[in-house]
């Protein structure tokens, strides 16, 4: 097999299981030196197990590749620095950072605890900064680097019971767009992947609750079905993620890609796509007329109140 990543050193966080492990293995098979990071926690972030990262590192080396396991948490500044330091100590440099690590603490916002919020933001969003910051210092110096964050349709389009996760995952997309602008001039790219795959994370949402939400008219609850829905294995997310590490992707920067099964697409960049203009300050009365009819024409409430709920304004609309 061709080894387009020969001589490159890539850190993959959360690489002990699921999507991360597939990314790490593919990168290793294409010649990269891989730091396989995973503290081996449960989906909710509890516990610790060196086994998953060690196993994947061994799989890569058994297949003739180069890999070293790392068991730090990405949720701390020291953890992120250790991972980058291990890459430099073991292989002399860091070329790529792929932040897949994540946990779930799903709860409706009105029941969510401060700890559930903090823990999810710490691993996903601050975890991204914890690895991207020390990596960016070295990547800027060497005028080469690749950063990939993992976003989610939950943040880009919305989902119930995941206010913390949606904030973190949309935040990762926003951070990526900024990283791309800070670092592009130095030969460093930053992109994000919003994956679709069946892993132990998605298994935590019971099908019954998805169906209940769908019956209540709440958007985003039901997994989209299509001809490709059977291609849910996490290995399908790996090629696009690893492609972003290659030299050929030098000019791919600041984008959010959606990858699920054999389906790959780029996310529409956010823009103000319907507008009203006035060379003066609008009044509330004017907006009442124009916002629904012009800006929101054809769009619906993603979670409308039931018909029998007394809603001020509904009768007069």
């Amino acid at each position: 097999m061709a080894t387009p990543l020969e001589g490159r050193t890539i850190l993959v966080t959360g690489a002990g299981r699921g999507i991360g492990s597939e990314v790490a293995k593919l990168a290793g098979s294409l010649g990269a030196n891989v730091i396989v990071n995973d503290p081996g926690v449960n989906v909710d972030g509890t516990g610790h197990d060196d086994g998953p990262a060690a196993t994947i590192a061994k799989e890569i080396t058994d297949a003739g590749g180069n890999a070293a396991a790392n068991f730090d948490t990405v949720a701390t500044e020291a953890g992120g620095e250790n991972m980058i330091k291990q890459a430099v100590d073991a292989y002399g440099r860091i070329d790529g950072v792929i932040h897949v690590a994540g946990i779930l603490r799903d709860r409706m916002i009105f029941n969510m605890t401060e700890e559930e919020w903090d823990d999810v933001i710490a691993v996903h969003l601050t975890g991204y900064f914890n690895v991207a910051k020390p990596a960016s210092v070295l990547m800027r110096q060497q005028r080469h680097g690749r950063i990939v964050g993992f976003s989610s349709g939950s943040g880009l389009r919305g989902n119930t019971g995941q206010g913390n996760y949606a904030a973190a995952k949309a935040g990762i997309a926003g951070a990526t767009r900024c990283l791309a602008r800070d670092l592009g001039r130095y030969g460093v790219t930053a992109n994000a992947i919003a994956p679709g795959a069946a892993t132990r994370m998605t298994a935590t949402v019971p099908d019954a609750s998805r169906e209940l939400r769908a019956q209540a008219g709440i958007e985003g609850a039901v997994r989209r079905t299509s001809a490709v829905s059977e291609l849910r294995e996490p290995k399908y997310v790996a090629p696009m993620t690893v492609y972003l590490m290659t030299d050929q992707a030098w000019d791919v920067n600041g984008k959010v890609f959606n990858v699920s099964g054999g389906q790959v697409s780029v996310s529409h960049e956010v823009e103000s796509y319907r507008e009203i203009h006035k060379p003066d300050r609008w009044t509330i009365d004017e907006l009442r007329d124009l916002v629904p009819s012009v800006l929101l024409a054809g769009l619906r409430n993603p979670a409308p109140p039931p018909d029998d709920l007394d809603i001020p304004g509904r009768a007069t609309a």
């Binding site: 601050t126 206010g163 935040g171 001039r185 529409h268 960049e269 203009h277």
Partner: protein, 324 residues
């Protein structure tokens, strides 16, 4: 008679700028307003009860009802206190507007963890800290309006603001997520991405914007999706009417959206939906993806901060070469 008669609102960061304009308009439309502002500097340092007290006094002098609050949204107890003050003073909370924010701009390779943490704490966690306690009461009363503040720095991207961009994009994601948690209970959650000249935007020197634009870095000078015009007046008070409309009963069915407001320009932002997709009923190879990325997905998109032409970039001259 105003469109917010009898309603009780909490407006964070309403001692100055955009927040102040919203608090003043809400009061003029009949709402009782908790004017929150700890009176910090743009970087979050210091404390001054003057700004919130002054806005509350201005509202009262104009015949409205207002009560100042000086808590920090960065603390969970601060958010709880604001909501509690609304209930203790006026008996309920109907509207929550999250405007409070700080800036700690720095290029990512120089940014300290403190600078990251502080900005995430005020903007993103600050939204959670007020929304959580407010949503409990709004759900019980089957009515509520939550209006959050996002930014083109996160939605589009900007240099030197990875902390702020992460927080502001995160707020858009939070808005879309919890709109789905709360819509069933007669509550709407929307966000505004504002354009206005305030003391926050004044921290970015025009010279820096010009330099970035010359270097081909997008976002700095083109944060607004269309060119500045006579409609984009940049007056912070211009943001208030849209926040007023979204809080009104008439807006009962507008939920989970992110609006752009700058002067007389009011827009709806699209959700970042997938586009320009390719499909293969199997695993893609690197060479196939190289072709699909460059010829389909990025056909009409460019690098927002391209490396200089004279910089040696691995891969730049071999883009057409198959990888495997």
């Amino acid at each position: 008679m105003g469109v917010l008669d009898g309603k009780v609102a909490v407006v964070t960061g309403s001692g100055r700028g955009i927040g102040r304009g919203i608090a003043m308009l809400y009061a003029a439309e009949g709402a009782k307003v908790i004017v929150n502002d700890p009176g910090v500097a743009v970087d979050g340092s210091g404390h001054d009860e003057g700004p919130a007290a002054q806005v509350a006094n201005e509202i009262k002098a104009a015949g409205g009802e207002a009560s100042p609050n000086f808590d920090s949204v960065a603390e969970f107890s601060g958010g709880e206190n604001m909501v509690k003050q609304a209930v203790d003073t006026y008996g309920r909370i109907d509207i929550l507007v999250n405007v409070a924010g700080i800036l700690r701009d720095r290029m990512v390779f120089n940014m300290s963890h403190q600078e990251w943490d502080d900005v995430i704490a005020v903007h993103l966690k600050g939204h959670f800290n007020t929304i959580k306690p407010a949503s409990v009461l709004m759900r019980q009363q089957r009515f509520g309006r939550i209006i959050n503040f996002s930014s083109s720095s996160g939605l589009i991207g900007n240099t030197g603001q990875v902390n702020y961009g992460a927080a502001k994009a995160g707020i858009a994601g939070l808005t879309r997520g919890i709109a789905r948690d709360l819509g069933r209970y007669g509550i709407t959650v929307n966000a505004i991405s504002p354009g206005a000249a305030t003391r926050m935007t004044a921290t970015v020197p025009d010279a820096a914007r010009d330099l970035r634009a010359q270097a081909g870095v997008s976002g700095a000078a083109s944060a607004a999706p269309v060119q500045e015009s006579k409609f984009a007046r940049r007056d912070p008070d211009d943001v208030a009417p849209m926040a007023g409309y979204l809080a009104s009963d008439d807006a009962w069915n507008i939920n989970g959206q992110v609006f752009y407001v700058n002067g007389g320009r009011v827009g709806l932002t699209n959700h970042p939906v997938p586009q320009d997709g390719v499909f293969k009923p199997g695993l893609w190879t690197m060479a196939e993806l190289d072709d699909a990325v460059h010829n389909v997905m990025l056909k009409n998109k460019n690098n927002p901060a391209p490396p200089r032409d004279d910089m040696e970039i691995a891969g730049r001259d071999v883009a057409a070469k198959p990888l495997a």
